[in-house]
Amino acid sequence: MKKPNIKSIPYEEFKDNETFEKLVAELNAGGANVVVRKLDDLIDWGRSNSLWPLTFATSCCGIEFMAVCAARYDIARFGFEVTRNSPRQADVILVSGTITTKMAPVLKRLYDQMADPKYVVAIGGCSISGGPFTKSYHVVRGVDTVIPVDVYVPGCPPRPESFLYGMMQLQRKVKVENFFGTVNRKEKDPFAKEAVREKEKEIFSEEEQA
């Protein structure tokens, strides 16, 4: 069992080690080649320590995100130092704020524009479940209905400390990834459904014709 080492927080102090261990067990269910795994470790080490977030914020949580980037909390200490304004240069999208039904297609497009490997962190109650606006007619109840989410950070808005904790959880997830793949790499992307793919094809052909 691999216990990834995260700067500043010892493994035992993470609160959900059971879930994490289950996830690792699932990932490595078929076993991994020793050499390949070592290469993976090297790649994951590099990736997890330079996750560049996209400058994306829709409401309150965005201000806390700015506070996390500023001097006192200084997210740069952990490798998230450069926020990127273009999704094409970003590794992780921090969905900070309410996502409305008008914003949902835009968010999906932003996610699609990001280069792999890409990660999503849902920050705050609104992006997790709709938060205080869950009964509204114009709010998406959880950003995970639109894009797959890696880490959820609860709060309204979360404190900067929980921001950092959530980001470190993401680092842990990145550190156990299998880049070269095990048996799991053949698994189909659960979010790319056949119908969606066909629709995309249609759109592409329409665009080509135009």
Binding site: C60, A67, A71, P87, V106, K108, S136
Partner: protein, 522 residues
């Protein structure tokens, strides 16, 4: 205050409005609120007006019982801000304004079915989550009322054939949130801006109609999160005035100090973001360093950093923390000293001055017609401070200057905020030593019911007049709760402010006008 509303028939509305504008000099359209009074009352609009010269106020309403095809006359040629307010009403209630030049939806998608704020509408039934890209029309409609009473629908193009249109937003780091501008360019010069809003429209006003009064308080903090204290203060004040609750002196002083701390917080963030937009990242970090000090003070007393949830109906949530006075007293000289650094590092810099001096000039007539309250209006010489116009809380017992300037350019808007930080520090200094004793919370009934009537209360938010329009039918939930967004006029004025300027100046002008998008969209 309880509004004394005059009913005007739709056919006489324009005449009456023109008379008020001309004879009583009602040049400031404060709010324009759509209403649904059911089958009998019909769909209508409530207008509140103020004269900036005499201080006189007026409230009018008009309604139509036609629910199929409701039509009311437009006032968008009398007050420029009515253009965007009427589009909002059309979006939510489906009332078409005859004579309005641009009758499009503004917050919801153009393929949205129905009008969500009508009492009989079921918005979720016909509007599933649409993941297709939103349609954006190239033409707009207007309804022209002929002298014989018939209405003709006309279409106009939004942008002329061959115009070069650039999209800024909805995902753009310098729009301060998810705001979408369609900008028409002639080379580098801006010809026209068409704002597309609603990317963070959460339907707060509609949600309020199903929440009890104490529950509605929670959502105000999340409108303009940099004016969380003041927003909540406004709603508490409105409900207290309607119910006749008199809060203790202690509460009044606490609220005043908190409002001013929030204002400093907001203005520091304004400065930081403006610097960041113009590429001065160091200044951004300086601003946030000082802002954390205020957040520390808030955190001790309120428990929150950004969303504070502090004011309640009849008082505040908790008494001041024992450290509060000490911390605030330490903060005042600290901030005064550090404010000088802002000037050294950014404001006196020649590059920054060149980007702001004489850029994006707004005239006095424009800011009043657009209802741009707050620092943006005061930078053009409009004395619009609610703290002076209609004193509330403890503002009548402190001495402070209302900062105004004449230039109306980006630099003036920046300087207004910097000077207001100093004024806010002065206000806090006057109050902090003698916070009166008393209860921090009045006893209220377990179930709060506001007596029947229509009420309007405004406070000076961080970026202008934040108003609460409340119509109660005597229930434990409001019949209609409308917020006068401070940011909506500021976005509406962007077109006027930016025309003829360079596209790069759009960022500076947007930064100095200082809007917060969740407050615009509500």
């Amino acid at each position: 205050m309880n509004l004394d509303i005059r009913t005007v028939a739709p056919e006489n509305l324009r005449e009456e409005m023109l008379r008020l504008r001309r004879e009583q000099k009602m040049n400031f359209l404060e709010t324009l609120t759509g209403m649904d009074w059911g089958e009998e009352g019909g769909l209508g609009v409530v207008y509140t007006l103020e004269s900036t010269e005499t201080g006189e106020r007026a409230a009018l309403k008009t309604a139509t019982t036609d629910r199929e095809n409701p039509m009311l006359p437009s006032v968008s040629d009398i007050w420029k801000i009515a253009n965007i307010y009427e589009r909002e009403v059309y979006d939510f209630y489906g009332i078409k304004f005859t004579g309005h030049p641009d009758m499009r939806r503004i917050f919801l998608r153009e393929d949205w079915v129905g009008y969500p704020f009508r009492k009989d509408d079921e918005p979720e039934k016909e509007n599933p989550l649409r993941m297709t890209n939103e349609p954006l029309a190239d033409v707009t409609e207007s309804y022209v009322l002929n002298p014989d009473g018939t209405v003709v629908k006309e279409t106009h193009p939004i942008f002329e054939e061959g115009e070069y249109v650039v999209n800024i937003g909805p995902q753009h780091p310098s729009t301060h949130g998810v705001l979408h501008f369609r900008v028409s360019l002639d080379g580098e010069v801006i010809r026209k801006i068409d704002p597309v809003l609603g990317y963070i429209h959460r339907g707060v006003e509609k949600l309020n109609e199903s929440l009890t009064y104490p529950q509605t308080l929670a959502l105000t903090d999340r409108l303009d999160y940099l004016g969380a204290m003041q927003n909540r203060h406004a709603l508490c004040l409105c409900i207290e005035q309607a119910m006749g609750i008199e809060v203790s002196d202690r509460v009044k002083v606490i609220r005043t100090i908190m409002d001013e701390l929030q204002r400093i917080d907001s203005h520091i963030l304004f400065f930081s973001c403006l610097c960041q937009d113009l590429g001065a990242t160091t200044a951004f970090l300086y601003g946030f360093r000082d802002r954390e000090k205020i957040l520390d003070i808030f955190e001790e007393t309120c428990g929150g950093r950004l969303i504070l949830n502090y004011n309640t109906i009849g008082g505040v949530m908790a008494d001041l923390h024992p450290n509060f006075v000490k911390r605030v007293k330490e903060f005042i000289p600290y901030m005064r000293k550090n404010l000088q650094e802002y000037f050294d590092i950014f404001i006196n810099n020649v590059i920054a001055r060149n980007r702001m001096d004489g850029v994006g000039i707004l005239s006095l007539d424009d800011v009043i017609s657009f209802g741009c309250t707050g620092g943006t209006g005061r930078a053009s010489g409009w004395h619009n401070d609610v703290r002076k116009r209609m004193p509330y809380a403890a503002y009548d017992r402190v001495e402070f200057n209302e900062i105004t300037r004449k230039e109306g350019d980006s630099f003036a808007r920046l300087m207004i905020r910097m000077d207001e930080i100093k004024e806010s520090l002065n206000i806090i200094e006057q109050l902090i030593d003698n916070i009166p004793d008393g209860p921090f919370q009045e006893k209220t009934k377990p179930i709060i019911k506001v007596p029947e009537g229509t009420y309007y209360t405004a406070v000076e938010g961080s970026r202008g007049e934040f108003g609460v329009f409340l119509e109660s039918h005597g229930d434990k939930t409001p019949y209609r709760l409308h917020y006068r967004a401070t940011g909506l006029p500021l976005v509406a004025v962007m077109d006027t402010a930016c025309r003829g300027n360079l596209i790069a100046d759009l960022i500076t002008i947007g930064g100095t006008v200082d809007y917060v998008v969740p407050d615009i969209d509500r």
